[in-house]
Amino acid sequence: MKAKLKLVRDQFPILKQRVNGRKLVYLDNAATTQTPRAVLDAVREYKEFFNANPRRGAHYLGGQATILLERARRKVQHFLNAPSPEEIIFTRNATEALNLIAYSFGLSKIEAKDEIVLCISEHHSNLVPWQRIARLKGAALRYLYLNDDYTLNWEEVKNKITARTALVGIAHMSNVLGTIYPIKELVGFAHKQGAAVVVDGVQSVPHQPVDVQDLNADFFVFSGHKVFGPMGIGVLYGKRRFLEAMPPFLMGGEMVEYVQEQEAAFSELPYKFEAGTPNLEGAVGLEAALNFVEEVGWDFVQKQERQLLAYALETLQKIPYLSVYGPKCLKQQGPVLSFTIKDCHPHDVATIADAEGIALRSGHHCAQPLMNYLGVPATSRASFSFYNTKEEIRRLAASLSKVRKWLGYGS
């Protein structure tokens, strides 16, 4: 385990650097993950040897670029166990994928008096687009509030997901609480009520294997840069019968069959939803990232991350005046840990940690309705990846123990 951890860490050049005189401790993995050599090399190789605009032009490089794009698509398909590559749409990020669903599916299928049900812990990216659709269509927006331990409350589910519900939006794993929601069971319930389900998989995809057919979600999205890939590449999986019935989202080149002065016929899936030149280096990098994760292996990833979370929960909760927001139960929580320290604003906490080279996130984490629900203006968050170490958590704990003193509170 220890030897493998060293091998894995060595793949990430950025982790070797020093920040503010100390060895970097990167604990902001829920915001973005670092990039392994395999991804850096794949992007570089693409740019050096194969760069061309895919699916256009009949020259050698154009053909190679097309092959790479479709190879990346099939990698994502297999990674998610999607039935076919046509159900994998490349987007800019998860936010764009969710907007695609909102503006295409939402605008055409959601009617006045329908209801949209979201979990209160949604990231703004799976919340603000639905506010817009609800406003445009005269639909109602309802929220699932949580149990006291920040897990899904089935009474809420039964009360709020009804025959009036057209759509349910929920993250597989909360970016603030770390809660892993029982998506398969929730999808089963929502489908019985006739609702479609959109799952934001941004936080779960880096930490656990995902099988979209097993979850049976109608839509599932994630971002490349949160799973060791480049920024600017995201993925939308949608069930074929949904995608085929949906109108295009962005219009332009390569999403059309033929175009006349007054009208156009649109391409087949997946190209109907991929207007304009795609981010091919992003797709190539993402493919390399997913291969990398599989080479590291889910056994190692999950064992290491569970150990880190368990150790962090144990260590941090010993610190006086520190409160954790999350299930605190390894079965229902991914490696994300939000906390506050009494009397200390999370931004001061992050600055004090940063002075020792420790990267934490502080703020509302793009989940302001959740912050209001929790009754805090902001939290600090440490989020782990399998390349983090127990030693790094010890350094975090040592730094957090000093926060109140720095801010003049004695202990």
Partner: protein
């Protein structure tokens, strides 16, 4: 980065027990300032009579930097004319942008000079300037009533 240069006695004193943090009855002007990215949320209240700031106070919450900067600002603007308050805000913002560096020019800022080096911490600049931006927006509104 040396934390002791940031969290000085002066800053901690102002951020913790703050006589300036209270509701101002009979305020003639009230302005909310909000940092959406971190959640600093303050409301500055001014009592202005005959163009003079008779009293000032604030409510809200935020990090030590934002709270201390607000409190120090309030000490500084009490008794000033609204034009003087505007001028002080301009000097403060100029100092943060490093457009104003001369000691002489910064002198009117008094204790607020403590934030001069906050520009070394780009993530915290918005915390330090929140109160001053809010003041700049509040004063013209107060005068238009």
């Amino acid at each position: 980065m040396d934390l002791s240069e940031l969290y000085t006695e002066l800053v901690l004193e102002h951020s913790r027990n703050c006589a300036n943090k209270r509701l101002l009855e009979c305020a003639t002007c009230s302005k909310r300032g909000y940092n959406p990215s971190c959640g600093d949320d303050i409301t500055i209240e001014l009592l202005i009579e005959k163009d003079q700031i008779i009293d000032a106070a604030f409510t809200g919450f935020g990090c030590a930097i934002s709270q201390a900067s607000t409190s120090i600002m309030i000490d500084l603007i009490k008794g000033r004319s609204s034009a003087e308050a505007q001028k002080l805000a301009d000097i403060f913002l100029g100092m943060i942008k490093r457009e104003i560096k001369e000691e002489e020019e910064l002198e009117p800022l008094g204790d607020a000079i403590v934030f001069q080096n906050i520009s070394n911490l780009p993530a915290r600049v918005k915390c330090a300037v929140l109160a001053w931006r809010t003041l700049k927006a509040a004063v013209p509104e107060a005068n238009s009533h």
